[in-house]
C-alpha cells in the first residue's frame, strides 16, 4: 500500500509544480496578487508530497519490502538498517527521488526565508524552481519509477546493495553532493527572475549570495567526501582520478567558485552584472550536464548504473530546454542590465575578474577533457580517453597565475589603487614566503620543482592572507564574511600543500607477501603479521594484521578483503593509520596462492591536508552566510510581522 501512496504523492506533486511554474509567474507578469499569493501554498504542497514520497520509499527499504523492484534490486534482509536506508539513493531511481526531494527542500527554503523580498520577485524565483522540478518529476515518473512492483511474484530476498556503497562515506556523500548540485538551482532561479523582471541591483546580489554560498559549501563537502571515500574504499590510495563523473561534479564547483566571487563584486560595487548572471546560469547548467553524463550511461565510470538509452534522450531534451531557454533569455535581456560602476585597471574588480577568467579557463579544460572523448566517438572516429597528465599539467600551469593574484587581491582597494600603497605588505609577504619555503626545502629535501612551485605559492597565499588580516585596524570587529574569505583562502592553501606533497612525495609499492614477510618503505618497516577468515553480517572476509615500525613507534593496521556472496563481489578495505604529516596505507590485493598475497604498501605524506583544506572551505561558507547583513535579509518574518512584534 505505502509504495502506491508514494507513487501517487509523486504524481500529485507533478501537478503542484506545473501549477507553481505557471500561475505565480503569470501573476507576477500581469500583476495579479491572487496568483502571486498562490506561490507559497503550492511550494508547501510540493514539499510535503515529495517528503511523503521519499518517506514511503525509505519505509519500503527499512521493512524489506521486496515486492518493490527497486528495493529488491538494491537491498537485502541481511543488510544493516543504516545501509538499508542509504540504499534509497544507492541506484538510479532512488537517487532521482532524493534529487527531487532536495529540490523541494531548497524551494521550501527560499519560500520560507524570503518574506522580505518583493512578492512578485519571490513568485518568479519559485516559479522557475517549479519549472526545473517538472523536468525531474516527469523524468522519474516516465522512465525511472522507484515504486514499481514485482507483484504478484516477488523475490524472497533482495539482490543487495552494491558493496562499494556499503560505507559511511557513501551514506552522506550523495545527499551532500545533491544539496550542492541542486542548490545552484536557486542561484539559477534568481538569475532567470532578474532577466525576466529586468531588475538586478546590489540588493538582488545580497539575496542570491547566501543561497549560492550555501550550495557551494555543500558541493565542496560532497566532492571532498567522494574523494575521501575513493581514497580508503577503492583500495588504490588515490584521491582524485579525473574520472568523468568526478569532473561532472568539479565543473559546477569551478563555476560556483567563480560565481561567489563575482556575486561579491555585484553586491558591493554593483558591477559585473551580466557576467554574474551568466555564471549563475552556467553553474546550474553544468550540474544538469553532470546529471546527464552520469545518468545516461555514456560514461565509463564507477558511477554509471545500468542504464537505458531513452533516459539519456529524455535528459538531453530537458537539458536543451533549460539551458537553451536560459541562454536565449540571457542573450535577449542581458543588455538591459547596465553596470554603471567604473573602475581602473589596478583595482580589486580587475583582479577578481582575472581570477574569474582563470577559473573559467580551468572549467573549459575540464569540460574539454570530459566531452572530447564523447564527441570523438559520436563522430565515428573511435574511442579515445584523455589521460590524467592532461588535466594535471594544465591545472599546474593555471595554478601559478591564480595563486599569485589570489594572494594579494584582498589587499587591493575597490575601484582604484596604487601599487605603492601595498608595496611594503607585498614585500613583507614575499620575504616571509621565501624564508618559509627555504625552511621546508631543507627540512623535507623537496627535489621536485613542481612541488616547490605548489608549496611555495600555497605558502604565499597563506602568508598574504595573514598579512591582509593584520593590515585591518580592528581585527575583532571584522565582519563574519571577511573571516569567511580568510578561511576560504587558507583552505585553498592547505589543500594545495596537501596535493603537492602527496603527489610528489608519496612512496607506493605493490609487493608479493606472505605472513611474516617484511618490507621497508621510506623509513617505515611494514610487517605482514597474520591473516585470518572472519564472518561479517552480509559478507565473509580475509582480515590481515600488519604492524608498522617507524622511529620508535609501532602502529597496527588491519587490511581486509571482503567477499559479498549476494552480489558475488569482492571489496577491499584498506588499513590506514592517519596522521597530519603522513598516512600509512596497506591494502590487500589478490590472493596469489595459498600463502602469498599481493599487497599495496603506501606512505603518503600530507594527504589529510587535502580534506582539511576542504573543511576550511566549508567553514568559510558557513562564516560568510552567518554575516550580519544576510541575517537581516534572510529573516523568515516579513517586515510587517516585525513591525507588529516591535510595537
Amino acid at each position: 500500500m505505502l509504495p502506491e501512496i508514494g507513487h501517487f504523492a509523486l504524481i500529485l506533486s507533478l501537478f503542484f509544480t506545473v501549477a507553481l511554474a505557471i500561475f505565480p509567474m503569470w501573476g507576477a507578469q500581469k500583476n495579479i496578487p491572487a496568483l502571486i499569493a498562490l506561490a507559497r501554498p503550492l511550494v508547501w504542497g510540493y514539499f510535503v508530497l515529495a517528503s511523503i514520497s521519499l518517506f514511503c520509499l525509505s519505509w519500503a527499504f527499512y521493512h524489506n519490502d521486496f515486492s518493490v523492484v527497486y528495493v529488491a534490486k538494491n537491498s537485502n534482509s541481511m543488510l544493516p538498517w543504516y545501509y538499508r536506508l542509504s540504499a534509497v539513493w544507492g541506484a538510479h531511481e532512488g537517487s532521482l527521488l532524493l534529487w527531487i526531494w532536495i529540490l523541494a527542500l531548497w524551494t521550501a527554503g527560499v519560500a520560507l526565508f524570503s518574506r522580505k523580498l518583493k512578492k512578485s520577485d519571490v513568485a518568479r524565483v519559485l516559479a522557475v524552481l517549479g519549472f526545473v522540478s517538472i523536468g525531474f518529476l516527469l523524468f522519474t515518473l516516465i522512465t525511472s519509477n522507484p515504486f514499481e512492483r514485482t507483484l504478484p511474484y516477488f523475490p524472497i530476498d533482495g539482490r543487495d546493495l552494491n558493496p562499494l556503497l556499503q560505507d559511511f562515506g557513501l551514506i552522506i556523500h550523495p545527499p551532500m553532493l545533491y544539496m550542492g548540485y541542486v542548490g545552484f538551482s536557486v542561484a539559477f532561479a534568481f538569475a532567470i527572475s532578474a532577466l525576466i523582471s529586468g531588475r538586478m541591483d546590489s540588493s538582488w546580489a545580497r539575496w542570491a549570495r547566501p543561497w549560492t554560498l550555501l550550495a557551494w559549501g555543500f558541493l565542496t563537502a560532497g566532492i571532498a567526501l567522494g574523494s575521501w571515500w575513493a581514497y580508503y574504499e577503492l583500495g588504490w590510495g588515490g584521491w582524485w582520478f579525473w574520472d568523468p563523473v568526478e569532473n561532472a561534479s568539479f565543473m559546477p564547483w569551478l563555476a560556483g567558485t567563480a560565481l561567489i566571487h563575482s556575486l561579491a563584486v555585484t553586491e558591493k560595487r554593483n558591477a559585473f552584472k551580466s557576467w554574474t548572471l551568466l555564471l549563475a546560469i552556467s553553474a546550474f547548467s553544468l550540474s544538469l550536464l553532470g546529471t546527464f553524463l552520469v545518468r545516461s550511461g555514456i560514461l565509463v565510470s564507477v558511477h554509471a548504473f545500468a542504464s537505458e538509452p531513452e533516459r539519456g534522450i529524455f535528459i538531453l531534451g530537458y537539458l536543451i530546454v533549460v539551458i537553451g531557454g536560459a541562454l536565449t533569455l540571457y542573450a535577449l535581456r542581458a543588455n538591459t542590465l547596465v553596470s554603471s560602476h567604473r573602475y581602473k585597471l589596478f583595482s580589486r574588480e580587475v583582479l577578481l575578474f582575472c581570477n574569474n577568467v582563470l577559473l573559467v579557463v580551468a572549467l573549459a579544460v575540464v569540460l574539454l577533457g570530459t566531452l572530447l572523448p564523447l564527441v570523438h566517438k559520436e563522430l565515428g572516429l573511435g574511442s579515445i580517453s584523455i589521460g590524467e597528465p592532461f588535466f594535471n599539467k594544465l591545472f599546474s600551469y593555471l595554478y601559478i597565475p591564480f595563486a599569485l593574484i589570489l594572494a594579494f587581491a584582498p589587499l587591493i582597494r575597490w575601484k582604484q589603487d596604487k601599487i605603492q600603497r601595498v608595496k611594503k605588505d607585498i614585500l613583507l609577504g614575499a620575504v616571509a614566503t621565501v624564508f618559509t619555503l627555504a625552511l621546508c626545502y631543507f627540512t623535507y629535501s623537496i627535489d621536485n620543482p613542481w612541488t616547490l612551485v605548489g608549496v611555495g605559492l600555497a605558502l604565499w597565499v597563506a602568508i598574504m592572507t595573514f598579512v591582509e588580516l593584520k593590515s585591518n585596524k580592528q581585527i575583532a570587529k571584522l565582519p563574519m564574511s571577511h573571516w569567511g574569505m580568510v578561511f576560504g583562502h587558507l583552505g585553498f592553501a592547505v589543500m594545495v600543500i596537501g596535493i603537492a606533497m602527496t603527489t610528489f612525495g608519496s612512496v607506493e609499492r605493490d609487493v608479493r607477501m606472505k605472513a611474516g614477510d617484511q618490507v621497508e618503505l621510506s623509513g617505515f618497516t611494514f610487517t605482514f603479521e597474520s591473516i585470518e577468515q572472519v564472518q561479517g553480517p552480509n559478507y565473509s572476509s580475509h582480515l590481515a594484521d600488519f604492524t608498522v615500525q617507524g622511529g620508535d613507534k609501532t602502529y597496527e593496521l588491519h587490511a581486509e578483503k571482503r567477499f559479498y556472496p549476494v552480489q558475488k563481489s569482492v571489496m577491499t578495505e584498506a588499513g590506514i593509520d592517519d596522521g597530519l604529516m603522513r598516512d600509512l596505507y596497506v591494502a590487500l590485493g589478490e590472493q596469489i596462492d595459498d600463502d602469498y598475497w599481493g599487497v599495496r604498501v603506501y606512505v603518503k605524506p600530507y594527504v589529510r591536508w587535502i580534506w582539511l583544506g576542504s573543511i576550511f572551505m566549508c567553514i568559510a561558507a558557513v562564516f560568510c552566510i552567518a554575516d550580519r547583513r544576510y541575517r537581516h535579509v534572510l529573516s523568515w518574518r516579513s517586515s510587517a510581522d516585525k513591525a507588529t512584534s516591535q510595537a
Binding site: 572530447l372 574511442s383 584523455i386 589521460g387 597528465p389 592532461f390 605493490d510 590485493g589
Partner: protein
Amino acid sequence: MNPRRKQRLFIASLLFLGLAAGAALILTALDENIDFFYSPTEILHGKKETGLKPKIGQRLRIGGMVKEGSVVRSEKDLNVTFALQTNGDVVYVTFDGILPDLFREGQGIVAQGHLRSPNKVEAFEVLAKHDEEYMPPEIAEAMKGIKHEKPQYTAEQLETLEQKKSY
C-alpha cells in the same frame, strides 16, 4: 592615441596573447595525452573506423575478454601475463602490479599501457568492470562487433549451406 584607448589596446592585446598561449598549451597537452582505444582485433588488423594499426611504443587502451586459462603469474613478484581476446584475435598483456578486485578469467577488462610488439601490451593500469551488471561500454561495443562477424563461414560455405537447405 589618448590614454584611455591606449589602455584598452593594452588590455585587448594582453587578453589576446593570454588566449593564444592558453589555446596552444591546451592543444599540446591534449596531443600528448590522447589514448586511443583498441580491441585485440583492432590491434592486429587495424581500427575499424580508419584501418590504422597502432605503432610499436604507442600508449593506448585495450579492452577485451580475459581468455580462460591464460593468466600466468610470476613465482617471485607480482608480474602477471594474460591474453585478451575479441573475435578470436588474441593480444597478450603483461602487468606488474595488483589486479583489480573484479578481474577474473572470462570477463571484460580495460588495460592502459604501451604496445611493445605487434601483439604484446605492457600495461601500467588494469581496470575491471565494477559489478555484475556493469560492462564498460567500450567492451560492450567490441563484443557487439563479434556478434556481427561471428558466423565464421566463408561466402562459399554459406552458399553450400543455402543449397543444402533448399534441398
